[in-house]
């Protein structure tokens, strides 16, 4: 029983942390709400676009081509995420680690090859 309650007590830190976090945010916003003057004007409720008057609605469609680029970016992004920790520990894993990473990169390279052959990389 003591072991279990110790285990639960460790989570007390998490609870306190979460409580302080929420309390801080809510408190600061609440204090601001109490002290700031409120003078509503129509212009203040416009969508903020770096100071320029907004054109059209916020729900406009974006080019599907960006989507494919984003997808390819994620591919390399994830590759990098895995490669950094691997690179710091390469000597620990030796040949085994090298081969594993080569297989991983090769599979992603096949994906890039496919994308290239499908003319995804051209801005047409």
């Amino acid at each position: 029983m003591t072991e279990y309650s110790d285990f639960v007590r460790q989570y007390l830190t998490v609870v306190i942390f979460a409580g302080v976090g929420i309390g801080l945010g809510a408190g600061l916003l609440g204090i601001g709400k109490i002290f700031r003057p409120t003078r509503p004007q129509e212009q203040k409720y416009l969508v903020y676009e770096s100071g320029v008057d907004p054109v059209g609605t916020g729900w406009s469609q974006s080019q599907i081509r960006y989507y494919i680029y984003a997808l390819l970016f994620v591919m390399f992004d994830v590759e990098a995420v895995f490669m950094f920790p691997w690179a710091t520990q390469l000597e620990v894993y030796g040949v085994f680690g090298l081969v594993e990473m080569l297989i991983f990169v090769a599979i992603l390279a096949l994906g890039l090859l496919y994308a290239w052959r499908k003319k995804v990389l051209q801005w047409a």
Binding site: G94, F96, Y114, K118
Partner: protein
């Protein structure tokens, strides 16, 4: 510093030299992983080479490539089956095997036993059938290209990983590989709004169920201190958990995640919509392959790992089985769309499989394996007929679209009748023995009420199948007009016809000679074999 931390985790396979801790990779029995590798490499190479093809690919190229890859993977499982079963010779090939029996490889992540190989072969058969059905379908819907087949193969890879998994994390990776490919397959018919809807629905709900599963895995790890099935099994055998809230919660969440994939009530709501909207060959794969893989996951987690903790999970599965069987059969009757009817009937079939699993006995495993194998043929054939009758646009799935099929396409209608009768469990069809084994397993496990409910629900679902059959006998046109059904004749493409033919023949042959399959299903037992860790250089024992 980090290296030394790591060394504590994996002491056994590490050697120290000049202050650097070298971690040796796990030894891998490549031959054992051959079915997996053939499917994976085959899928990747098909995709890559297809992009180098100039102009249009020859008709049927990808279909037959996929069939060849899947058949190759199934054949490569045979030597392993021989090794697991301890055979001395395989036909003319004399095996002089140093080791026989089930074994574990890749650092204990993968377990090769009768059950995993059985499910692997079933999944390969599912791929073959779905690929044959897809051949003409994809041309008809102008979706031709390698992508459908590659996704099919990749999802089969996930299924095989699930079937071979010996670790909760590996199980999860397999499930995700399987699911992500199937989400795309479901939404693949871009010209059909229902297909996109079904892809999105399946994705969102599937992501939820994956989250449940992962949360459950985390809790099981917290409760037992390991994710390895064998370690958990040993832990459960040696420890009587007093504070088992974490364990119960974990088990229930894992059950939710897997029950979603086999679409057991109350986690079934997605399946009629998704089955209806998805391209019909993809539906065939979903009903056959995904269900087989999820059943493999259930068997490995519950019957293998937590078998001596059965008193807690058996009642839950008992209720799930009853709800699935009764509600699946009852809700199917009120449908008017044949694909939705088959979807609800597949929920009912899931209940039967759950009934076999909840028996938690050797007979239960045999029944589950037999059911899954037979069901793959029955359901793939049934959705195969739906693929053809759906006609261009994949939209003609109402009962009225089947009217007059007996006169316009007697062979197609005859095949469908046989497949539906097999699904209903009529004697002398494979479906009868599947249901019989499941009910016997439940009765042997003293779950007589469950067995009775199963029999009642089998009768209810028989009515549903008869409804489809009667619709096919009804005249397609006004009374007295004989020409209309002839005009409605649908062309049966060669590959799809072959697939349906295989399904019909198998459903009948296994119904007449069930021992052919039963013999293998009896040998398809999962085994908990501890991975033999390599001899340690230090005196320390396994950490963790």
């Amino acid at each position: 510093m980090i290296a030394s931390v790591f060394a504590q985790v994996n002491v056994t396979s590490a050697t120290t030299e000049n202050g650097i801790v070298h971690v040796a990779g796990p030894s891998i029995d490549w031959l054992a992983l051959l079915p997996l590798l053939i499917l994976l490499v085959g899928a990747l190479l098909t995709l890559t080479f297809s992009s180098f093809l100039k102009g249009r690919a020859p008709k049927g190229l990808f279909t037959w490539t996929t069939v060849a890859i899947a058949v190759g993977a199934a054949i490569s499982a045979v030597p392993m089956w021989a090794r697991v079963q301890g055979w001395n010779s395989l036909m003319w090939w004399n095996l002089d095997q140093a080791q026989t029996g089930p074994f574990s490889t890749a650092g204990g992540a993968v377990g090769i036993d009768g059950f995993s190989l059985f499910i692997t072969v079933v999944l390969c058969i599912g791929v073959v059938l779905a690929a044959l059905l897809a051949d003409d379908f994809l041309r008809r819907e102008s979706m031709s290209g390698p992508e459908f087949y590659v996704l099919l193969l990749l999802s089969a890879v996930g299924g095989v990983i699930m079937a071979m998994s010996n670790d909760l994390i590996v199980l999860f990776i397999g499930l995700e590989t399987l699911s992500i490919a199937v989400y795309v397959l479901a939404g693949m018919n871009l010209r059909r709004v229902q297909s996109q809807e079904s892809g999105l629905k399946y994705f969102i709900l599937g992501a939820f169920s994956s989250a449940f599963l992962l949360y459950g895995i985390a809790m099981l790890y917290g409760a037992t201190g390991s994710t390895n099935f064998v370690d958990i099994r040993e832990f459960m055998a040696s420890v009587v958990p007093i504070h088992n809230g974490l364990l119960l919660m974990g088990l229930v969440l894992v059950l939710v995640g897997l029950a979603f994939k086999i679409s057991a009530v109350p986690f079934h709501a997605w399946s009629p919509d998704v089955y209806d909207g998805a391209p019909t060959p993809a539906t065939a794969w979903m009903a056959a392959g995904v269900k087989a893989a999820a059943v493999a996951g259930l068997v490995r987690v519950f019957m293998l790992t937590f078998s001596n903790y059965a008193s807690t999970w058996k009642p839950i599965m008992y209720v799930l089985a009853i709800l699935s069987m009764v509600l699946g059969a009852a809700l199917a009757i009120v449908q008017s769309n044949v694909k939705r009817m088959l979807a609800y009937s597949s929920i009912s079939h899931a209940g039967f499989i759950l009934m076999a699993i909840q028996a938690n006995s050797g007979n239960g495993i045999t029944a589950a394996a037999f059911y899954v194998a037979v069901y793959t043929f029955m359901v793939a054939g049934s959705f195969g007929v739906a693929t053809i009758v759906g006609r261009k646009g994949d939209g003609n799935h109402e009962l009225s679209d089947y009217q007059g099929l007996v006169r316009s396409n007697p062979w197609l209608a005859g095949s469908f009748i046989l497949l539906l009768l097999a699904q209903a469990g009529v004697p002398f069809t494979a479906g009868f023995f599947a249901k019989f084994l499941a009910i016997t397993a439940a009765a042997d496990a003293h779950a007589v009420p469950l067995a009775l409910v199963a029999m009642v629900s089998a009768v209810i679902s028989a009515f549903l199948y008869l409804r489809i059959i009667v619709a096919m006998f009804m005249s397609g046109g006004d009374d007295g007009v004989e020409d209309v059904p002839r005009a409605n004749r649908v062309r049966v493409p060669m590959a799809a016809g072959l697939a349906i033919g295989i399904c019909v023949v198998v459903s009948v042959v296994y119904g007449l000679f069930p021992d052919l399959l039963l013999h293998n299903a009896r040998a398809a037992t999962p085994a908990a074999v501890q991975f033999e860790r390599p001899a340690t250089t230090g005196s320390t024992t396994a950490g963790g």
